[in-house]
């Protein structure tokens, strides 16, 4: 039985000037126990709206959703004791409190028996690596430390499902890696994660399955591998070149240059897409009209390539 079931979820907002805006348009998916499930898409695609509905913070206009078999619309209170959530950024904390005090407050909000509180807080603080800063006021924390504190808070009620809304936003690479490792280890313990992120490499590394949302609707769903395979007709190449006719290359009808990086003043690497299904030698011949080709290779399609391909017509 799936841990999360979402069926034809529809959410419509009224904007300040009275117009109606569709945030979700018939989204349906299932998530299984212990899965890390990614909700990906551009800003305004409906990722946060979906997470808010599932975490009982928003009511849908139509459709149904359940977490652990409990209806999130009718029985939100029952769902709350079994889930938790973390969102990115530095908000949601009380700067004057220490990490211990902050977690102690949430222990009361989650009705953790008083005798268990200290042990639990110590355990959580150690798990997220904040022992050294336990007694420091939160306003002195870095973004990474605040994010780790949010993770600790989200584990206070031993949740079965955790919703993560852009948890690594603004974190340095070390902080992001630490958080990813934590998510992986918790998912191995059977906790189900719903994750939104704009970092495709992060989604590729963490997610068992992904859904791409576009303008409130589902565009694709599957494992990262399946989604990349959906884009097999993409002919992405990477070439190292010495360019002598940039405008000619830019106007070439057979290829489109996606990314151009300067290696030195005269040498560059380009990531390009061949618009017809031609082989690498034919591409090299096209390129030779505008540059000297040092090296060329077919590039394995990344999740980012798939994302750009699938989201190219987003409004």
């Amino acid at each position: 039985m799936p841990v999360i079931e979402v069926d034809k979820l529809f959410k419509e907002y009224k904007t300040k000037n009275g117009e109606k805006k569709v945030a979700l348009n018939g989204v349906s998916f299932d998530v299984h126990e212990g899965e890390v499930f990614g909700l990906l898409g551009p800003n305004g695609a409906g990722k946060t709206t979906t997470i808010k509905i599932l975490s009982t913070l928003l009511l849908p206009t139509r459709g149904s959703a359940s977490v652990l078999g409990i209806d999130v619309i009718r029985n939100g209170e029952q769902v709350r004791s079994q889930i938790n959530f973390v969102y990115g950024g530095e908000k949601g904390v009380y700067g004057r409190l220490t990490a211990f005090e902050y977690l102690s407050y949430f222990c009361v909000l989650y009705r953790i028996p008083r005798k268990q509180q200290k042990l639990l807080i110590d355990e959580l603080i150690t798990m997220v690596g904040l022992e050294h800063a336990e007694g420091q006021q939160i306003y002195t924390y870095s973004k990474g430390m605040i994010q780790r504190l949010h993770i600790a808070r989200s584990l206070i009620n031993d949740p079965k499902v955790i919703f993560l809304d852009e948890p690594t936003i603004g974190l340095d690479p070390v902080g992001s890696k630490m958080l990813r490792e934590l998510i992986k280890s918790l998912s191995k313990k059977g906790i189900t994660f719903i994750l939104t992120t704009h970092y495709m490499s992060e989604a590729d590394e963490l997610c068992d399955r992904i859904v791409f949302l576009k303008n409130g609707s589902m565009s694709s769903i599957g494992t990262p591998k399946q989604i990349k395979e959906e884009c097999n007709d993409l002919n992405v190449f990477e070439a190292t070149i010495q360019l002598f006719d940039q405008s000619g290359l830019e106007n070439e009808e057979l290829i489109s240059v996606n990314d151009l990086q300067h290696i030195t003043e005269s040498y560059k690497t380009i990531k390009l897409e061949f618009k017809k299904n031609l082989d690498i030698s034919e591409l090299e011949n096209v390129l030779k009209k505008y540059c000297q080709v040092i090296k060329i290779q077919r590039k394995e399609i990344s999740l980012e390539d798939a994302y750009i391909y699938l989201m190219k017509d987003v409004e």
């Binding site: 907002y13 009224k14 946060t48 709206t49 808010k52 975490s55 009982t56 913070l57 928003l58 009511l59 209170e77 709350r80 004791s81 889930i83 938790n84 959530f85 969102y87 950024g89 908000k91 949601g92 904390v93 009380y94 004057r96 409190l97 005090e101 102690s104 407050y105 949430f106 009361v108 909000l109 989650y110 009705r111 008083r114 808070r153 009620n157």
Partner: protein, 254 residues
């Protein structure tokens, strides 16, 4: 008793005595107000009696409750922590109630300091005949202040435009709740509004206690009764507010 734990946490963690406005209201304002009535009494040649001293204390208590409780929920919304509170299994009603009771308890600092300043600095006779009755009526006042604070917290969060007018609420409530002017001397319409405020009955109950009249407990009972009616309405009001915010997606700052 989870609500008791919540009140204790609120009291210990969220009382911000470093805030300059609160410092002024709690510690300085009682002295300023007492000084004013002291010189007025000297000029007029009237003796300052207990109700005048308590009136200055209630003004400071009310000011603190208005500024601290009124902003407590809307501040959580701006801080994006309201989401976290609503997602917790404890009801928002309990959370708000604990915040208000904690704030009202802090407001008692003003009452204590007023009595202390009156006795030590101004050598005034407070005239508390029955300490037990006085403490009881003061607790009734605490309950009524908490309820009014809760009401304001909900109104400020639901209709944010009203929040900018909180200074305009301060003085009218002082006038309407009969702290300085007897409610009987107000025009009829204002008298109705006055008697709808649980604070009015609590204030009258304290003054009756000081004047040793017989209706102390009746007035205290009316105050408590009206406070519980307000609490009952607030219980459903907060649930309604939560539902509206969940429908409109206006729980957080995002």
């Amino acid at each position: 008793m989870n609500i008791l734990s919540l009140i204790i946490k609120e009291f210990i963690y969220f009382t911000n005595l470093n805030n300059r406005i609160y410092q002024f209201i709690l510690f300085v304002q009682p002295l300023v107000l007492l000084t004013i009535i002291h010189f007025m009494s000297v000029m007029k040649g009237i003796e300052i009696t207990g109700p005048y001293i308590i009136a200055t204390a209630i003004v400071s208590m009310w000011s603190y409750v208005l500024y601290s409780s009124g902003s407590s929920l809307i501040w959580q919304k701006w801080n994006d922590s309201l989401n976290l509170l609503i997602a917790a299994p404890v009801s928002l009603f309990q959370i708000v109630l604990s915040k208000m009771l904690s704030n009202s308890l802090i407001a008692f600092i003003s009452l204590t300091l007023t009595l202390f300043y009156a006795k030590i600095i101004f050598s005034l006779n407070i005239g508390i005949a029955h300490l037990g009755t006085f403490i009881f009526t003061a607790i009734v006042l605490l309950v009524s202040l908490s309820v009014v604070g809760m009401f304001l917290a909900v109104v400020f969060t639901t209709v944010q435009e009203v929040y900018s007018f909180q200074n305009f609420i301060l003085t009218p409530v002082i006038l309407l709740s009969g702290i300085f002017i007897p409610v009987e001397s107000l025009p009829f319409t204002f008298r109705i509004i006055s008697y709808l405020l649980p604070m009015t009955w609590a204030v009258e109950s304290i003054y009756s206690g000081l004047n040793e009249t017989n209706d102390v407990f009746l007035l205290a009972g009316v105050s408590l009764g009206s406070s519980f009616i307000y609490l009952f309405i607030l219980f459903f009001g907060i649930r309604r507010m939560e539902k509206i915010m969940k429908q409109s997606g206006s729980l957080g700052v995002v």
